[in-house]
């Protein structure tokens, strides 16, 4: 009940957010929602399924380039987007194969190398990607009734895609797949011994997470109307990772919160002039040291501290054989 109320309030806030705001703030909000989708995907791969990936920006890149090329060629966004998502699903599936052999730091390096590879291809294949100059002039989608060329129409379009992506992810993590992903994260050997095909579910964790990166890219292209390799470099992957970790990997709302922290907070801190990035970096360090489970984990801890402790079943009844 309390949750539903909170959710309703959040929705209303999202609906009224751009009202009366200038283009810059609306642009920031769109950027937040877009990166929120990319972070949602990484949260599935890393937070739920426990597979580290430092390549999420490259999937945003693949999604953005595919969407840019197709819409520039006259395709409607609604036709380009599914292709962008499907391309990322397939490439993500392929990137999942190394994860079947290596884990942890090694997997981090494999995915990092992939991101670098993507960057180099995007920069050097001038014929297709426009090289370092990138592609520009992508139209914003026009749905007849809703032309998103102007704000805040584009914001509402982004919001609709964001909400659909969130609902879909909610469905996935609530289904038996969600339990399987967590089992993979917590104890893959035990999970396999209980009948879980850990290889397939690992590949799915990468493929779905990457598809979300692709969807974010499909929104990024018409938002910025300019894609160039630098936007999808390794540093951007780290930024998406930061969103997930700061929010609290493995919690459903973590990516939204984390993306807000990474994209919106620096703007809020701008009044401190030259110091804002330092304050921001300091806050991240303190958070990670104090609560590695991120902001949502921190919230949970505060709640536990101020709530009467809940007696555990067996302590209540006395230990039973």
């Amino acid at each position: 009940m309390k949750r539903l109320l909170l959710l309703g309030l959040g929705l209303v806030a999202l609906l009224v957010a751009p009202l009366g705001q200038g283009t810059y703030v609306t642009y920031l909000l769109c950027s937040w929602l877009t990166f929120g989708i990319a972070a949602m995907g990484l949260n599935l791969t890393l937070g739920y399924a426990g597979q580290i990936s430092l390549a999420q920006a490259s999937f945003m890149g693949i999604g953005a380039y595919v969407t840019a090329l197709l819409t520039l060629a006259g395709w409607p966004w609604l036709a380009a987007m599914p292709l962008a998502v499907a391309a990322c699903f397939l490439v993500g599936l392929a990137l999942g194969f190394p994860a079947l052999r290596v884990q942890g730091h090694f997997l981090a390096f494999v995915t990092l190398a992939f991101n670098t590879l993507f960057f180099l291809v995007a920069r050097n294949e001038d014929g297709l990607t426009g090289g370092p100059y990138g592609l520009s002039g992508m139209p914003r989608p026009d749905f007849g009734l809703l032309d998103t060329a102007q704000q805040p129409a584009f914001y509402y379009f982004t919001l609709a895609v964001f909400l659909a992506a969130a609902v879909l992810l909610w469905g996935i993590v609530r289904s038996p797949w969600g339990r399987a992903f967590k089992g993979l994260r917590e104890n893959p050997i035990r999970a396999e011994s209980l009948g879980l095909d850990t290889r397939r579910i690992t590949l799915m964790a990468f493929a779905i997470g990457s598809a979300y990166g692709g969807l974010a890219g499909a929104l990024f292209s018409p938002l910025v109307q300019y894609v160039e390799p630098g936007s999808f470099a390794f540093a951007q992957s780290l930024r998406i990772l930061l969103m997930v970790v700061v929010g609290g990997a493995g919690f459903f709302f973590a990516p939204m919160l984390g993306a807000a922290m990474v994209i919106l907070l620096p703007e809020v801190l701008r009044f401190t002039e030259g110091y804002y990035l330092m304050i921001y970096a300091g806050a991240v360090i303190v958070l990670m040291v104090v609560c590695p489970e991120g902001l949502i984990g921190l919230g949970g801890r505060l709640r536990d501290r101020f709530q009467a402790p809940r007696p555990r079943g067996d302590l209540q009844e006395g230990a039973r054989p």
Partner: protein, 248 residues
Amino acid sequence: MTVPVLAVRDIAKGFGAIRAVDGVSFEVRPGEILGLIGPNGSGKSTLFNCILGQLTPDRGSVEVNGRSVSGRRPFELSRLGVGRTFQQLSVFPKMSVLDNVILAGQEHRGSLLGRLFAAPDAGLTAEAERLIAFFRLGHLRDEMAGALSYGQQKLVDAAMAFMAGPSLVLLDEPAGGVNLTMLAGLKERLIAYNREHGTTFVVIEHNMEFVMSLCTRIIVLAEGRIIAEGPPEAVRADPRVIDAYLGG
């Protein structure tokens, strides 16, 4: 002649110069509770892992219900009706007891894609609750598995091995670290399960009291080979067994 539930033929596995398992063959009949004992390092766990696809044996073959399972992956054995526990405690610490047990059953239902669209609990809550109650963990249903005591986690671990309704269960030291009262409870539960469902067990255990009173037949392993086999009393009195244990 009934088909053996498990037939192990000439399994061998070495790690570098160590011959952990060195040509082991045996059969397990339906409904039997077979004990597998032997000194530390005699190859019991390695043998289990070779049977269950966790390790690839250097030679030998394994049949479950008359069907060769050599080269199968662990999840396939689980789906063929073979449950197991590991020597080390092996639960999903950040999931509730109920979720632990449901996960132990859900992968046996429908297809991978079907499970994406299935109910969140895959329709298994009632069944999981029954099993949790059977292992007398009902009051801990919603606790995080990682927050339970060692003995309680050991019971959750055991319960998971039964969730998919296996025809054969391999238990690696289920009584390790479990207190005496709980131990008696566990033994009684295993025997009850065996009677009710006709499930076959192979149990590795160091606690002699526990093995001797639980098992109908015992195999003794030393340095990767079977050195004795027979009913509990005979094995207990066998001088080779006493030798292997005392000789170290």
